[in-house]
């Protein structure tokens, strides 16, 4: 009798396992860490990447189902060809044309980011989408309602089952899938990267610009990510139509007044306009600001107290270097684009 129980249980377990494999057999994928780059901040062990999870996240990213009236998707403000930001608008607009208070951020190398949004109020990549989803001027939706909409969709039931082995859609799985897509948005193949890997050489002008960059910019825009993930007041005079004091809103600490996250400079040639409120539309204006336009205030970054004093030629050299951070392979990678049947 005992033997028969053991035998039957084994048969049962094996048949259950093989039964579940028919439907759920995801393909693991990995984010390859470029040589000499730091360790990612994202904990992949809590959300193992799979091709199916990535593709589900990609569908969600490009689907306006995430907004209240099904008009706005993540991609509305985060376009691939411009480093996943909203080009040409100083302040980004969302649902019903409503305008927010900040310039939408780029989405690049997020596996290495420790805080999200210009004020760093979001502490984890997975919960970041909640901010635009629930913002009244962006998507004006709730995660609860999104889950209901997804649950009613045959397409998403199938995609969730392939990715997570369950048709039961939850908020957690929705956010984990989105994270699987955006965490893969790695850019590491610009001319700068190729020079570092000794595959190509800078022009003389680019090299001059790189030297100036290392002297004047790299303490905050630290290589290879071109950000040190810190918060700084970079000497922008406050825009009194917005009165945005940045990180102070999150920490309630007056030391954080007017501080914003140091953004990455990768693909900066295409991520205009610049700054948290998009006040500069060209790189020439940005460099000019750092050269002679710094507005003094008590929380000003210590690194900006002394003016750069670059000559006209040097400023052009610096901009020339910044354009070597463009990674066209990333900006046009079909894997990151709107999901179509054949890609």
């Amino acid at each position: 009798m005992k033997k028969r129980i053991t035998y039957s249980s084994i048969v049962l377990i094996i048949s259950l396992i093989s039964f579940s494999y028919v439907f759920y057999d995801p393909t693991p994928i990995y984010l390859e860490i470029p040589k000499n780059w730091p360790k990612p901040a994202y904990n992949f062990s809590k959300n193992p990447l799979t091709e199916e999870g990535f593709q589900l996240g990609r569908h969600l990213f490009y689907d306006p189902i995430l907004s209240r009236d099904n008009t706005i998707s993540c991609a509305s403000c985060h376009l691939q060809q411009t480093g996943f930001t909203h080009v040409d608008h100083d302040l980004s607009h969302g649902i019903e044309g409503k305008i927010g208070t900040r310039n939408s951020a780029t989405l690049m190398n997020l596996a290495w980011s420790t805080h999200f949004m210009w004020d760093g109020g979001i502490n984890h990549l997975e919960v970041q989408p909640l901010a635009p989803i629930e913002s009244e001027v962006e998507m004006d939706e709730t995660l609860e309602n999104i889950v209901k909409k997804l649950q009613n969709s045959k397409k998403y039931q199938l995609l969730f089952e392939k990715a997570f082995g369950t048709k039961k859609i939850t908020g957690q799985l929705t956010l984990k899938a989105l994270a699987q897509f955006v965490v893969m948005l790695k850019t590491d193949n610009s001319k700068y990267d190729k020079v570092i890997r000794k595959e190509v050489n800078f022009t003389a002008q680019e090299q001059k610009g790189y030297t100036l960059f290392k002297q004047n910019c790299a303490s905050c825009h630290t290589e290879p990510l071109f950000t040190n993930n810190s918060f700084e007041n970079n000497g922008l005079e406050i825009d009194t139509t917005l009165n945005d004091f940045g990180r102070r809103k999150i920490t309630n600490n007056s030391k954080d007044k007017l501080k914003f996250k140091v953004p990455t400079l990768r693909n900066i040639q295409f991520t205009f306009p610049y700054m948290h409120d998009g006040r500069f539309s060209t790189l020439t204006e940005v460099v000019k600001h750092y050269n002679t336009g710094i507005h003094q205030s008590e929380t000003l970054s210590l690194k900006l107290v002394k003016p750069m004093n670059l000559s006209d030629n040097e400023r052009v050299d610096l901009v020339t270097f910044l354009k070597t951070l463009t990674d066209e392979e990333f900006l046009f990678n079909p894997r990151f684009s709107f999901p179509r049947a054949n890609n």
Partner: protein, 232 residues
């Protein structure tokens, strides 16, 4: 194959029997106002003479610990419970008695709110799933306690009051630990009573009716929350 299915059902039924209700300790959560069970949309009068009604009462109780007279401790795994006055099932938390057979209970401890580790660990499931309406959007972190309602004392839009108490970062970490001592053999059930009358006796709704962010104001209310729970 038929035989397998029969064995499968047999194993399931054993499993279900082991989980029979009588083998559990039930903690019933009662939300009251000055001793009376709270009904949503009914009027209550506070000691500070505000007439008020409630539309939402939701809060987290977490990290349950049972301390016994032999100095052993039983800690519930993954212990996060969202109590929602509108959801009767959420007002009963059950613990299998297997974990404290033949022991005498010395004290019960739990947290009011969600700990900072869970607040920085990304998207969570079940009670902590952000679909529960207890996660802030523009700034990370759980709302530990959400109490909303109406009172003519509030000079706000539609006379609403809204208290969203939370915050995981020092110095505004709003989770509180509640401890209750007693000597008792484990019986079938106990009642955890939350008396909002006590909370609103410390609030003058005309001046204080909206807390939506972590900070000093939220910390003051969080401090009061340990005073409004007791166990019967």
């Amino acid at each position: 194959m038929n035989k397998n299915i029969i064995w499968f059902l047999f194993l399931i039924s054993i499993h279900l029997n082991a989980q029979k209700a009588s083998d559990s300790l039930h903690l019933n959560i009662d939300v009251v106002f000055g001793g009376k069970p709270i009904q949503l949309d009914s009027n209550y009068i506070s000691i500070t003479k505000d007439t008020l009604s409630f539309t939402t009462i939701k809060f987290y109780l977490s990290s349950f610990e049972f301390h016994f007279t032999d100095n052993s401790i039983y800690k519930e795994n993954n212990s996060y419970h969202l109590i929602d006055i509108e959801n009767p099932n959420s007002k009963k938390i059950s613990f299998s008695k297997v974990n404290f057979k033949n022991k005498t209970l010395k004290s019960i401890q739990f947290n009011i709110g969600v700990d900072s580790l869970m607040s920085v660990s990304g998207a969570m499931k079940d009670a902590l799933d952000p679909t529960k309406g207890m996660y802030w959007a523009w700034q990370s972190g759980y709302i530990n306690i959400k109490i909303e309602g109406k009172s003519l004392s509030c000079n706000t839009r539609k006379n609403k009051f809204q208290f969203h108490i939370g915050g995981y970062l020092e110095p505004n970490y709003a989770m509180r630990t509640f401890n209750f001592n007693f000597n008792d053999n484990i019986k079938k059930e106990k009642n955890i009573v939350m008396d909002l009358g006590k909370l609103f006796s410390e609030i003058q709704l005309k001046e204080n009716n909206t807390i939506m962010i972590p900070g000093k104001e939220a910390m003051k209310l969080a401090d009061l929350t340990t005073e409004i729970f007791f166990i019967q």
